[in-house]
Amino acid sequence: MKASTSRSTIKLEVTRYRPSVDSEPHDQSYEIPCTDDMVVLDALNYIKDRVDGTLSFRWSCHMGVCGSCGVMVNGQPKLSCAIFLRDYKREPIHIEPLTNFPIIRDLVTDITDFMTKLKAVKPWIIRKKEKPLSEGEYRQSAEELERYHQFSGCINCMLCYSACPVYGLHPGFLGPAAAALAYRYNLDSRDQGNDERQPAIASQEGIWECTFVGECTVVCPKDVDPAAALQRSKVATAQSLLGSFILPRASGKSATEGSS
């Protein structure tokens, strides 16, 4: 423990917005005791428990799995449970709700739009016809798993939506996480739902608004690569379309990983 070098208190500026009291969001300062092992979420919990019980924020697991505690920390989207106070040298630390989402109260945002988009890409295994149980499970080789595994780590924390300027500018844009999950299921050898997902993915507001800024991949706490998924989906969609001009019947399952 380097207790001697750490500070004993820390200043935070937290966005407050209570629709019944405030006409618009404003900052509120807090100074609380802190230790080296505290994450931002610990500080928020300290405030709520001991300083100001009216502060609202979402959290659940405190271990980077549930994806519900995303906030902006000094302007960057972060999981508040996965980011240490000690890593921020400058005070106060600014804590705001995730950008690009409407605020409901304090740090709590309205995620309806994301939920709608998530459902639109049908992120589950789709079978044209389910195999009867007696025929056993859908088997998958290690290589087949490896093809999509990287894209399956998404915890729906929406940090990528906050990082994405295209989503900020075009609220209709499908967005990084939904596109990555669509791609993940399209790549799954057990899945046959490519055609059902295609309308949501290949539409103007599906993948084509993406300009490959790449910030979604930078901020992802689970090392998913939504930017790659989006670009590979463009390659696959363009290839299948150009292919259908040459061979009009050749469309269909085209879960390409991208040209190689």
């Binding site: 490896e146 900020g168 800024v213 790449g214 910030e215 670009q231 991208g258």
Partner: protein
């Protein structure tokens, strides 16, 4: 969202630089096309065009355009290595190796064009 969003984050800014490299590349190619048009119009017109290229303003433009073109090339190889999945048997080739091979190919191609263009 403000129109100045790309000034907020250095990565957004570099993205804008990358996108605007296309303006310089396209401007150079249009000039190059005009040079070829001069060539079609005869020796005198072409000579005038060639002499204009010596002016400091045009040298400066080409120097800046060259930097943008190089930035486009390097970012392009970086980005495509994130999209391309190259497999060798059961393993996926590391994307840095893919980008490196692309850059190597780029150098070879550029060398070839250079030799053909400057020596025939």
């Amino acid at each position: 969202m403000r129109a100045t969003w790309w000034l907020r984050n250095p990565r957004y800014f570099l993205f804008m630089v990358r996108e605007f490299s296309s303006v310089f590349v396209a401007a150079f190619l249009v000039l190059f096309l005009l040079q070829i048009r001069g060539l079609r119009a005869g020796a005198e017109v072409y000579q005038e065009y060639l002499e204009r290229l010596h002016e400091p303003g045009w040298i400066a433009f080409h120097a800046v355009a060259f930097l943008f073109a190089m930035y486009h090339s390097l970012t392009w190889f970086d980005l495509t290595s994130k999209i391309q999945v190259v497999r060798l048997g059961r393993t996926v080739v590391n994307r840095r190796i893919v980008a490196g091979l692309n850059i190597l190919a780029w150098l070879v191609v550029s060398g070839g064009i250079f030799l053909y263009w400057t020596r025939g």
